[in-house]
């Protein structure tokens, strides 16, 4: 039993790390093409800085997409390797959106190939338009993946029948009903907007950092403004979608809602619990704002917010993790929304916020913070679903692989992804440095023909 539990913990950590890694890259896969489209289009209309940005961003995208393609593949392997209990019982219930996502991935990969290699090879207008299928497949791919995840939270599209021997059969499979489950639209839109939120703030942070270091040219300002505009729209819309997504929980996943709100007892006029931890069943160190939890989660002061007392101990998620991650997500989202509004308000008043070192430093921090918000939000939904892999139907311990040695594969994945993160960072930084040294976007590959042995020779050969 102990070995089994330790096995389960390792499998969960491995899945969490693999997903946490991939989710950042998939954000770039979905949202980055739209940013590139904007600067590329501007570039074709005569803005040389914007065109240069488009070329550089497409090269950075090549690196990020490659990492995303392989980390996504790792996930599809892990679905089977780590969670065979879910795949064998429910593979035909929820596999279809994965197959549909395959189409999105095909289209995306094909047009990424065409776009990245299309510079100077395709007529400019057609070349620009090849970004559109990439954006569309990003949208559709997000839909498919979130169809699976939302189904895990609000499973539908099948019935369970217990046979005489106690074996439970999955019958009446309706894949469309599984896809269009109750959580689909809110989860999908929430994640889709999150991709623009993250990519907008991260790209803006890169240029804020450059401006802070004195590179105050028009290229940096354009790069910042385009990315920050996307981030602003996302930051405005996201709290509304998040709010609607949360309203579903009171009926569908009361345990998750109770953990998010750190509500120990089911009550009307439930207070909003800000901060705090659950210690021995009691909330300590929290600020309580009366009635607000009822208002936010149920749209009325009088309605009950479910508490952990209504959930069997064995079915409760780890409330402290869920509550903390939820509040980190909301806190950062509101903070960055304020930052975005401040920027545009100052601009309206005729003040350039990019002249303010304080603003630039905040915009720089906003990049990593947006990623933290993403991870926190994802932690909220995944850990909040525990102990279920398919809510109310299949527990994680019944889905995990019987194979031993998951601690080994977990260690391997930590080392591999650690190395991969460092390599990605170093490569992007090195590309950026080389771009600073030369005006165009070309980067020469350092191997033949003719083969050059040193950088010095390579520069001579140019």
């Amino acid at each position: 039993m102990l070995a089994q539990t330790s096995q389960l913990i390792a499998a969960r950590y491995q899945m969490a790390i693999s997903l946490g890694f991939h989710i950042v890259l998939s954000c770039f896969g979905v949202a980055f093409p739209a940013l590139i489209y904007v600067v590329h289009r501007r570039g074709l209309r005569g803005d040389a800085d914007a065109l240069l940005l488009a070329k550089r961003w497409s090269k950075a995208a090549a690196v990020l997409f490659a990492v995303g393609a392989v980390s996504g593949t790792v996930l599809s392997f892990e679905m089977g390797l780590l969670w065979p209990g879910m795949m064998s019982a429910y593979g035909d219930v929820i596999g279809l959106p994965f197959a549909m996502e395959g189409i999105a991935f095909f289209v995306e990969a094909v047009f990424i190939g065409i776009y990245l290699y299309g510079w100077d090879r395709l007529p400019p207008k057609i070349h620009l338009r090849t970004l559109i299928p990439i954006m569309v497949s990003g949208l559709f791919g997000t839909f498919c993946i979130l169809a699976v995840n939302s189904w895990m939270n609000a499973p539908s599209g099948f019935h369970l029948v217990e046979a005489a021997d106690g074996h439970v059969d999955v019958v009446d499979v309706n894949p469309l009903a599984a896809i269009f489950n109750r959580a689909l639209w809110t989860e999908f839109t929430h994640m889709f907007v999150a991709t623009y939120f993250v990519v907008g703030f991260v790209v803006a942070a890169v240029y804020a950092g450059g401006i802070l270091r004195g590179r105050r040219d028009r290229l940096h300002r354009t790069g910042f403004a385009v990315a920050f505009a996307f981030a602003t729209v996302a930051a405005l819309v996201q709290p509304l979608i998040g709010h609607v997504a949360g309203m579903r929980l009171a009926t569908d996943q009361p345990a998750k809602l109770a953990a998010m709100e750190l509500a120990t007892t089911t009550e009307a006029h439930a207070p909003l619990v800000v901060g705090g931890f659950l210690v021995d069943g009691k909330v300590v160190g929290a600020i309580r704002i009366p009635g607000i939890a009822s208002l936010l989660a149920r749209a009325s002061f009088d309605r009950e917010v479910p508490g952990l007392d209504g959930v069997a101990a064995a079915d409760q998620p780890p409330a402290n993790v869920v509550h903390t991650s939820f509040q980190v997500m909301v806190g950062i989202a509101l903070l960055l929304l304020a930052l975005a509004l401040w920027y545009w308000w100052r601009r309206r008043r005729g003040v350039d916020p990019l002249e303010s070192g304080r603003f630039l430093r905040l915009a720089l921090i906003a990049g990593p913070l947006s990623v933290l918000a993403l991870q926190a939000g994802w932690t909220t939904t995944e850990v909040g679903r525990q102990p279920w892999i398919v809510n109310g139907v299949l527990r994680v311990e019944d889905a995990v692989t019987p194979n031993g040695g998951i601690w080994l594969t977990l260690t391997a994945i930590v080392l591999l992804y650690g190395g991969l993160a460092v390599a990605t960072w170093l490569t992007l930084r090195s590309m950026s440095r080389r771009w600073r040294g030369q005006p165009d976007a070309d980067l020469e590959t350092p191997y033949g023909p003719p083969a050059h042995d040193t950088d010095a020779q390579r520069v001579e050969a140019r």
Binding site: A99, F106, A109, G113
Partner: protein, 337 residues
């Protein structure tokens, strides 16, 4: 032919496409590994970059396609396969990661040392990935994957697995060298085209010899498959031999367009022969298509998804292949970013 058969056939379309397109990309990595130092191998490595750069991600998706069609259409067979063959699947996963990263990052390396570091990752994993995929195929084909799960080690280390792994690497190398020869010729590098056709001829001959040996191994180690291969699979085996011989002759005469078609024909026939010989089993001797197929509505869904892919993804792929095979793309590299 039942609906489940149709889905199995569609799944196999993915296996076939991945063997050809994914295979040629892996094979390029194998030649990259064998290309020698920077001085000697530079030209070939640049050609490899150019040939597989725009297409490798799209070709890679075929593997995802195969996995999702398998777990959606035949969920219990899928879980039996990944649980039993846990170790080789992990190694394939590792290989996939290192191959993609190595290839993408090498292109943007700042120094030769960096390029070497990523290049070795790319090339070495291009070797191990098809090898372990071949071992997995061998395990399934020799009836070593029972539906309730089999031995974690002996299931994939039998004679058929070793043959499968070796043949996978060899066919990848044969395809890649043929494709690279054609690409180099189109780009106007006759020297490199010559070099690649010699590699292709060597790889083709070795593949043929190993394939002959494989017949004897299958006879002993994979009885069911061997019987069906000698029965209804026989035409494909003959076709593969003929196409292989044609490819070698065409390579010798340096007529690359024909060589490419013939090489694709040779490899597809052999893969198709395996598929036909597997029928009607998903897992040879252990799981028939009908017995392990998923819910009816889902199978219908899979056929619809395939249809949707045929009108969206496939035309896109065709356009990409036409572009990369056009003269303009082959030669524009000096001007391009």
């Amino acid at each position: 032919m039942t609906l489940a058969d149709v889905c199995a056939a569609l799944l196999f379309v993915g296996v076939l496409a991945y063997s050809i397109f994914g295979g040629a990309d892996f094979g390029s990595g194998v030649w990259d590994l064998l290309a020698g130092d920077a001085e000697r191998g530079g030209a070939l490595r640049v050609q490899i970059d150019h040939s597989i750069g725009p297409v490798w991600e799209a070709n890679h998706v075929w593997l995802i396609y195969v996995l999702v069609f398998m777990w959606t259409g035949f969920p219990t067979a899928f879980t039996a396969m990944v649980t039993t063959l846990f170790v080789p699947w992990l190694l394939v996963g590792l290989g996939i990661v290192l191959r993609g990263i190595g290839f993408a990052f090498r292109k943007f390396s700042a120094t030769l040392d960096e390029a070497r570091f990523y290049g070795v990752g790319f090339a070495a994993s291009s070797f191990i990935t098809p090898f372990f995929l071949g071992m997995i195929a061998g395990a399934v084909a020799s009836g070593r994957v029972p539906i309730e799960g089999g031995d974690r080690w002996s299931s994939w280390t039998g004679p058929t697995s070793w043959i499968g792994g070796t043949l996978a690497v060899l066919t990848c190398a044969f395809l890649a060298a043929t494709f690279l020869a054609a690409d180099a010729a189109r780009a106007g590098d006759a020297n490199l085209a010559d070099q690649c056709s010699r590699k292709a001829i060597v790889a083709g001959i070795v593949t043929g010899v190993v394939a002959l040996g494989a017949v004897a191994v299958l006879e002993m180690d994979a009885e069911s498959l061997s019987n069906r291969l000698q029965g209804r699979g026989a035409p494909f085996v003959v076709l593969s031999a003929l196409a292989g011989a044609t490819a070698l002759a065409a390579l010798h005469r340096r007529s690359f367009a024909l060589a490419r078609i013939a090489a694709v024909g040779a490899v597809s026939s052999v893969v198709l022969g395996w598929g036909v010989a597997q029928y009607p089993d998903v897992l040879v001797d252990h799981a028939r298509i009908e017995a392990v197929a998923g819910a009816h509505a889902t199978l219908v869904g899979l056929v619809i998804v395939f249809g949707a892919a045929a009108v969206t993804a496939v035309p896109a792929m065709v356009w990409l292949f036409l572009l990369v095979n056009s003269r303009r793309w082959a030669q524009a590299d000096e001007h391009a970013a």
